[in-house]
């Protein structure tokens, strides 16, 4: 029996690397475990590696098309920030 194809998952990399904001939102009504952190900016990043990844934005707000750099994982959540110009 052949192995099932691996589903396309977000890459669990040590560093996702930089990318471009594909879309974003600022969440005001948070789920129970994130209520204390709201409002927070959430974005889908088109990584330079070719994958897309959903993460949080640290610091200044970003918009679609902005370049972002990977900052760090916090509790398994990838955080990005606006790339310095």
């Amino acid at each position: 029996m052949s192995a099932a194809p691996v589903p396309p998952v977000s890459p669990p990399l040590a560093s996702p690397g930089p990318g471009v904001v594909y879309t974003e939102t600022v969440v005001f009504a948070a789920p129970e475990q994130f209520v204390a952190e709201a409002p927070y900016q959430l974005a889908i990043i088109s990584l330079d590696s070719g994958h897309r990844l959903t993460g949080r934005i640290h610091g200044n707000r970003v918009a679609i098309g902005d370049r972002v750099a990977f900052l760090e994982f916090r509790n398994g959540i990838p955080f990005f920030q606006a790339a310095s110009k």
């Binding site: 396309p8 998952v9 977000s10 594909y22 879309t23 974003e24 939102t25 600022v26 969440v27 005001f28 009504a29 948070a30 789920p31 129970e32 475990q33 994130f34 209520v35 952190e37 409002p39 927070y40 959430l42 974005a43 889908i44 897309r52 990844l53 959903t54 993460g55 949080r56 679609i64 398994g76 959540i77 990838p78």
Partner: protein, 386 residues
């Protein structure tokens, strides 16, 4: 497949009912449906239930026989279907497939959700379980956030505006105000809709559907037997269920509900009709942007033209193709497991000419579009007056 018809419908009101439990809602809808077709529980050959998260919302599992037994339906297959907000659409699709294949004649499809006994943050968390909990949800995505990101991208690619989205809310509230079974019977203005409290930018509270309790049931039978039970059967002309990736970040173009487009193509082909033939539709407006996407992906307008279409008046009760005459999920309410069967009930009411104050003049060919998650399940059904 042999032709199948809807021979009975039954719904509870949708709303916040602190004194009602999940089972009593599902039983009320089921009993109204059986009474509508003058059918006894003992005649039911299978019971298909749509429910998203009864175990999380109210702590009850094994829901299908739990509800069927309370209705007097015993000794037959009783099965629960879970496909997020398309749970009862999926139950309906599989029931139609079984009757169409000749497995059974009389099948009752019920849908139910009891949501309002939990706090809004807890409901938000349970609903988020319909997303990818290893990715987007872990990062803090809610369903409003996922559709907000779809809206942002649609605005970026096609110039869609907040006014166009708000027009969906204004219309659906106007329709809901005419529906005695709607959760929110309140007309709103464009100014109110635009000034709503932010939920996930650019969506405000007026762009979001409601957290509701409710149930809706549909009874189906082979078309050749329909006249034994009703003078106004609704023929199921086309039906399809399709799927896509669960995670929004795994979809190539998030402005397209690919599963909806695929299900619509299949349903149109089966029915032998074109999008322009559809006279009215109940579409899955869990968020205002979702109605805009649905009108595009069902082929009513081209991709990118859903925003101007929403503002054009074409989709109002008096328009040339009314959409969500019930008030939609926005105003009628969205007890998620009841939404798919609820849409079928609403289309059938229009087909029968029984929609009261919101009855539209051209009502012989209608469509229902039920969506699960951010588009991972879609069910499209085309119904005609038989």
């Amino acid at each position: 497949m042999r032709p199948v018809a809807v021979i009975g419908i039954g719904k509870t009101a949708f709303g916040a009912f602190p004194d009602r439990d999940l089972r009593s809602l599902a039983v009320e809808a089921g009993q109204k449906c059986l009474a509508d077709a003058h059918v006894n529980p003992s005649q039911i050959e299978a019971f298909y239930l749509g429910n998203f998260a009864g175990p999380s919302f109210v702590g009850q599992n094994h829901l299908a026989p739990y509800i069927a037994g309370a209705m007097g339906i015993n000794g037959v297959p009783c099965t629960r279907f879970e496909a997020a907000c398309a749970s009862s659409g999926s139950a309906f699709f599989h029931a139609v497939s079984a009757v169409g294949a000749g497995l059974y004649d009389l099948v009752l499809v019920d849908g139910v959700e009891k949501m309002t006994s939990q706090t809004t943050p807890k409901v938000t968390e349970i609903l988020a379980g319909a997303g990818d909990t290893a990715g987007e949800v872990r990062a803090g995505a809610t369903f409003p956030a996922l559709f907000a990101m779809i809206a942002r991208r649609h605005m970026f690619q096609y110039g869609t505006t907040r006014e166009q989205m708000a027009a969906v809310a204004v219309k659906n509230h106007a329709n809901g105000a005419k529906n005695p079974q709607a959760h929110m019977r309140k007309v709103i203005t464009m100014e109110q809709a635009l000034a709503g409290k932010p939920i996930a930018e650019p969506l405000t509270v007026y762009d979001c559907s409601l957290i509701s309790d409710g149930a809706a049931a549909v009874l189906i039978a082979p078309l050749e037997r329909a006249s034994e039970f009703t003078g106004k059967p609704a023929k199921i002309l086309g039906i399809a269920q399709t799927s896509d990736q669960v995670a929004l970040d795994q979809k190539e173009d998030i402005t397209v509900l690919r599963a909806v487009a695929a299900a619509a193509q299949k349903a149109y082909k089966m029915a032998g009709v074109k999008p322009e033939d559809i006279q009215f539709a109940e579409v899955h407006d869990c968020f205002t942007i979702a109605e805009i996407l649905a009108t595009e992906d069902l082929g009513f307008v081209k991709k990118g033209e859903g925003g101007p279409y929403a503002l054009s008046g074409s989709t109002c009760l008096q328009g040339d193709r009314p959409i969500n005459t019930s008030g939609g999920l926005k105003a009628k309410g969205h007890p998620v497991g009841a939404t798919g069967t609820g849409q079928i009930c609403d289309v059938v009411m229009q087909l029968r000419g029984d929609a009261g104050e919101r009855q539209i003049p051209r009502h012989s060919l209608g469509l229902a579009e039920n969506l699960g998650g951010s588009g991972a399940t879609a069910v499209v059904t085309i119904l005609g007056a038989a």
